[in-house]
Amino acid sequence: MTDAVATRDALRIVGQPVVRHDARDKVVAATAYAADWALPGMLHAAVLRSPYPSARIVRLETKRATAMAGVAVVLTAKDVPRNTLATDVPGQTTAVGPLRATLHVLAEDRVRHQGEPVALVAAETLELARDAVEAIEVEYEVTPGVFTPEAALAPGAPPVHGTGNLLAQWRIARGDVAKALAGANVVVEGEYTTQLVDAAYLEPESGVAWIDSDGVITIRLSTQVIEHFRDVAEVLQVPQNRVRVIGTYLGGGFGGKEDVTVEAYLGLLTLKTGRPVKMVWTRQESLLSRAKRHPYRLRYRTGANAHGEIVAQQIELLADAGAYAYLSALVLLYSTVTAAGPYRVPAVEVDARVAYTNNPPTSAMRGFGAMQTVFAYESQLDRVARALGMDPVAVRRVNALRRGDTLPVGQVIETHVAIPELCERAWAALGPPTAARAPHIKVGRGLACNFQPYGRIVWLHDWASAWVGFEMDGSLVIRCGCPDVGGGQASSLCQIAAEVLGVTLTRISVHVSDSALTPLAGTTTASRQLYMSGNAVLKTARELRAGLLGVAAAMLGGDADDLDMDEDRVVTRDGRTLAIAGLLAECARVGVPRSHLGVYHAPAGEPVDLATGSGKVFPDYTFGAHAAEVEVDTETGLVRVLGYAAAHDVGRAINPQSVEGQIQGGAVQGLGYGLMEEVVVENGINLTTSFATYLIPTAADVPDVRAVVVESGEGLGPFNARGIGEPPIGPPAAAIANAIEAATGARITRLPITAERVARALGLLD
């Protein structure tokens, strides 16, 4: 279908920085988050968690806890109808083969990481529930664990699960890397280390469950994935149509609420007690037990010719999955595909492995494996440029992918690649250089690019559906199963429908994220909701419009193609109008539907070839370039970010205000990753389970982020938009490292870039 309203000039509401429909509720605190919900007779729940990273459960006794006054129920593994939770779609990896990622809802005879759930309690008050958790008696026999992927893969390492500790391995190879490296003018070798970090949304995992009419177990919670209702049904061994998940507006997700959190526990407790149950994790619990971002070791050999063109990259990645698979195999696939960066590289070898350990489990987090690689490939490229005396923009310009190029994995890039323009604009947005304040203060600038897939892997056959309908008074209702994590997902759907159907924004009501009442639209992950639900609403609204304009054409005379919908009316070319309410009354009279359910299917494909690791993997990519100016105190190693600009080609900005918000917020999360955040784990014990020890950026830590929004008019989303949820978190760590080298000559290869590490690199400590 050709896009009749794809040019920017023709758009009326799409492209405007409109105030989001949920903005007022949020500033008056009328948004009912998951923990704000309460029901009569509601119980409160708590979880008993393992204090050990690796142990056998020798004895588990709940009698004393169960007997306590006010305790409704205590559950252990044996009380769970099916104690297995699938944490992954079936996947496959090049060297390990088919993968089934499962975990126990409650630990059986072994615990594999600190914080692993062992038992559940529901009681009349939260205090009582916590007291009962204390009263459960568990005897553990500590067993040897493995705490680094290197140790996990060493011969004779204790197996975390029954099998070996290699969870997944991906390999891709293109061209003759050894030969290309031998012929290169410069070869740069680097080893980089990235750390374990936490999504650290401000709203802890929370929800309330109850049994609704007809026995439907209803769970209202903060989740990015309402489709987990099926997983809960499997655990409870009830039909899937007897579990309903209502997703609330989230207090942040960032991937951390993609896997199952409280819903299986709540389902079990409400089923066993017949009463409403609430579960809210403490911050400590959240930081202790939630799946985090994978730490990586990345080894790169990069060869370039005299023009700065990369001729080969040899890449070896090793990631820590922690104790359970979750989404690790797919995270690793994202790393593998993006490992060589958004550049033309004729010869590439990637060998990527992820191993089980007894560390906290790792899974999805904004950037999803396409992030750790940025730190390595952008550091490498800067070193190549430095070796050849090239400037950072020039080296990226000569290497940038172009439309029609083929990625090492064999995927052809089908849309515009704006890397050169993004580099120039981000660099220019820093403005005139800042002068150093004192002789021991050095100022420097760095640049880093990235590319991030948006939309799910093509062989997952992604789809999204939406329902759009008019009420008789001309107001419009949108129903779509899309969870709103705070990025303006629901609001963008309103703008898209308003654009097509000519309805005033304030006359639209949008219902999202209810597995029983909104058509399913898939997960709010993988930067896919604007792309997928946006396309679903666009398609549905267009189909609805066609039916309505058929009736209008009969009323007004003439051809439906000559009619437009604008300002709650139908308008003819010669300026005659028909009020929408009049048209709807006529539709009712002649029996034409005023609502429509539509489904959007993303372009699908076959799995990559397991032998060669080759094929199309993602629908498309979003490209970015970030520029940073830092000052480094060469006496202390302290780094301060003076200026920051982040440019992304978003194809088309549906709501520029929301796009800027994603870019600024993502960039600051990326600065946190680059400069301060680290979950410190020693022998499997997490030492950073509060915001006093797990530091995220405050307003005083970061500069303003200048968001540069570039609209190439090319992308697979509605009105040619690209996904922008994840991309902005990718480049900051590398941009900072590159700026530090520009300022001081010291190259930092380990995250986070703390003052101590900089001081060490400057030779101030040993």
Binding site: D22, V28, L250, G486, S690, F691, A692, V702
Partner: protein, 163 residues
């Protein structure tokens, strides 16, 4: 053990009997049904639960009502004047300074106290005043913009800090 508590909350006087160990956050959310005040850590480390006590920002998750006898408390529910938003609320909504919105109540109240103290704060002063309120979504730029816009509309022009 319970204590009898007398407080003024959002300009209404309230008398209530609460267990001594309950925090102000719990009293607000559970006894007064003022659920606009959120919690992010309950350890005094994130600023999410900030309310105003006699005009000054206080972390309600670590404040004990027993110490607050007869004080004057403002929560986010007390900011708007009927259906008219406070200029800070208006600016936050217009500029997209609330994304997920979970940090917003605490930040609005901290900003309100700042503007009462300094109607024309520099951007740097705003940064410092908000440094105890974490936000994981916005990167702070739009929050700072919104506080500046509100200050401007409240009749005083903020002086922009040199950056």
């Amino acid at each position: 053990m319970n204590i009898r508590l007398s407080l003024t909350v959002n300009d209404e006087s309230r008398e209530l009997l609460v267990p001594v160990h309950k925090t102000l956050l719990e009293v607000l959310r559970e006894d007064l049904d003022l659920i606009g005040t959120k919690h992010g850590c309950e350890l005094g480390e994130c600023g999410t639960c900030t309310v105003l006590v006699d005009g000054a920002p206080v972390l309600s998750c670590i404040a004990l009502p027993a110490d607050l006898q007869d004080s004057d408390i403002t929560t986010v529910e007390g900011m708007a004047d009927g259906s008219r938003l406070h200029p800070l609320q208006q600016a936050f909504a217009e500029l997209g300074a609330a994304q997920c919105g979970y940090c917003t109540p605490g930040i609005l109240l901290t900003a309100k106290a700042l503007l009462a103290d300094d109607p024309t704060p520099t951007r740097q002063r705003i940064r410092e005043a908000l440094a105890g309120n974490l936000c994981r979504c916005t990167g702070y730029t739009k929050i700072l913009d919104a506080v500046e816009l509100a200050a401007l509309r409240m009749g005083q022009r903020p002086v922009r800090a040199m950056t």
